[in-house]
């Protein structure tokens, strides 16, 4: 009995270390290695790859572009999606709307990428960071709706009833009571959308013009073997910063009990 439990515990620990953390740890360790390739034994400690990355203009521009895209996507998706999260819950029996909203969430990203490409090119739109955001918002809307709707669903209806009893009309109740209660979920939705959009490669690949976002820069650099140490250092930087942000975000979520939506 406890032998099975022990085996399960061992299996879980092994998988998490070897399959999930090990590859990332290898990248971080080798980013400080003198040599160009991932060869053992390690050749000696150096920070020169970091210096190279930090003086690489293309890398910096790609990070800035990714932030611009992520910021446009997040604001767009929140503006359009948050009100719909309320419709999603309150018009719950309206299944066609649910399906209509969820479909972009279920199709492979490749489909969103190519339909956007064809649509923009057919309209004669110049591909740019804006078109990237427009295509990212397609996927972000259901993402925002699912996170915020889960919160709306768990709200205690007595708060709204109390507000109405005390003489507020529907509109005031919504603005002064309902909406503030969903702020934590909206904040989480915003951060998740931002991170997702910053990192997205597949959709971006089709809708980007001549500029580079961070994933596009990575994709281009991966083709040049001499770039390996630079990518290693750049990746490690993103890994370290990303871990901190994601850890803070996820602990906040667990503390506030938000966003355990299955479909997310």
């Amino acid at each position: 009995m406890s032998k099975i439990k022990l085996m399960l515990a061992g299996f879980t620990a092994t998988v998490i270390t070897l399959l999930i953390y090990f590859p990332i740890a290898v990248v971080v360790v080798f980013s400080f290695n003198e040599g160009i390739y991932f060869l053992l034994p390690l050749k000696g400690f150096t920070t020169k790859w970091y210096e190279e990355v930090l003086s690489n203009m293309e890398f910096f521009e790609s990070i800035v572009n990714s932030m611009i895209v992520a910021a446009m996507t997040t604001s767009g998706a929140l503006l359009v999606g948050v009100p719909a999260a309320f419709s999603f819950v309150r018009l719950r029996r309206n299944t066609p709307f649910v399906g209509f909203v969820l479909l972009p969430f279920l199709v492979p990203w490749l489909v969103i990428g190519v339909i956007s490409l064809v649509f923009f090119r057919t309209l004669g739109l110049q591909l740019s960071l804006l078109t990237v955001s427009l295509s990212h918002i397609i996927y972000s809307i259901p993402l925002v709706i699912l996170i915020v709707a889960a919160r709306v669903l768990s709200l205690n209806p007595n708060y709204e009833k109390a507000s109405m009893d005390l003489g507020a009309d529907r509109m005031r109740t919504f603005i002064n009571v309902t909406l503030p209660l969903t702020y934590p979920a909206i904040a989480v939705a915003a951060l998740i959308t931002f991170i997702w959009s910053f990192d997205n490669f597949i959709i971006t690949f089709f809708t980007i013009g001549t500029e580079q976002t961070f994933p596009i820069w990575l994709w281009g650099s991966l083709r040049h073997p001499t770039q390996v140490p630079v990518i290693t250092a750049a990746s490690s930087l993103i890994i370290i910063i990303g871990s901190v942000v994601v850890y803070l975000l996820e602990s906040y979520r667990i503390r506030k009990g938000i966003g355990i939506t299955l479909l997310e």
Binding site: L8, I24, F38, L110, I115, F119, T122, F201
Partner: protein
């Protein structure tokens, strides 16, 4: 029954408008293209023909691509499930409180980071000059680099399992957690042993979790092109075919027919999963 128009209908307008304009109309656009007369290098003409679909569905090459894509997608799903299930079981039914959830969080942290970085990491671990070969050579276990894990379907599957694991563990965790303890006691009282309890109680009740894992792994795999391009060697999947037809060959009608076929498969899979696997119940 006619319902009163409420404020919540108005709140739904921006989303409806946005998705209509940027998602549904573009889909209709490529449906139109898929019936045009195809030709490479953007030399396609308006018209109405079923030629693109016929070519996509009957050509030996695309049939092979479809088979390989589905095999890779299915093996990835199966491998992920085999790894994820014991972990989800341990987190949901052995650990107490929200420890399990915290461990899932631990699994999610590295995965919310760029997946190209992770593919890059695997390339450097599985490669011919990679970490594993290097380690084995240094230790004297092998004499020359092993190639099986690089530039192959197996490398693709390993990377997918790495990517998809938390997305399989999480829904399984939720379903396994929601099975009431009484059911186990009842099964035991009625003389069922551990093995038969697992197959007759636990497994059937965790089907919704398995179905969601299927949606998270199988469906995205049908459109994946970066992983095979970076670690897959000659592995050429549907995603690679569509990408090449749109961007390199420039035959939009043919590429659109392939995309519409992919979309239809996706819709059928999602519909079946939602309809028959009790996912809806889980979400509510």
């Amino acid at each position: 029954m006619k319902r009163r128009l409420s404020i919540y209908h108005i709140y739904a307008i921006p989303t409806t408008a946005y998705l209509l304009l940027f998602f549904y109309i573009p889909i209709i656009t490529i449906i139109v293209y898929s019936f045009w007369i195809g030709g490479p290098f953007y030399e396609f003409k308006p018209g109405f023909t079923l030629e693109n679909y016929v070519r996509f569905l009957t050509s030996r090459v695309t049939q092979n691509v479809m088979i390989v894509t589905n095999v890779v997608a299915f093996l990835s799903f199966l491998a992920t499930l085999l790894v994820a299930y014991p972990i989800a079981y341990f987190l949901a039914r052995v650990l107490k409180g929200d420890t399990g959830l915290r461990i899932i969080l631990l699994m999610l942290i590295p995965l919310e980071m760029n997946y190209l970085i992770r593919i890059f990491a695997w390339r450097n671990i599985l490669g011919e000059q990679g970490f594993i070969n290097n380690l084995l050579l240094t230790l004297g276990i092998i004499d020359e680099p092993v190639r099986i894990f690089f530039h192959s379907m197996y490398a693709v599957i390993i990377v997918i399992v790495h990517n998809a694991l938390p997305y399989a563990v999480f829904p399984l965790y939720i379903t396994l957690r929601s099975i009431p303890q009484n059911l186990y006691q009842a099964a035991m009282d009625l003389g069922s042993n551990r093995v038969s309890t697992f197959f007759r109680v636990t497994l059937p009740l965790s089907m919704p979790g398995i179905a969601v894992a299927f949606l998270f792994i199988y469906v995205p795999m049908l459109g994946e092109f970066a992983i095979p391009a970076l670690v897959g060697g000659k592995t050429f999947l549907l995603g690679n075919l569509i990408t090449r037809q749109y961007l390199d060959v420039g035959n939009w009608p043919y590429a659109s027919a392939a995309t519409i076929s992919l979309l239809i498969i996706t819709l059928i899979a999602s519909f079946l999963v939602f309809k028959y696997m009790g996912v809806r119940r889980l979400y509510e």
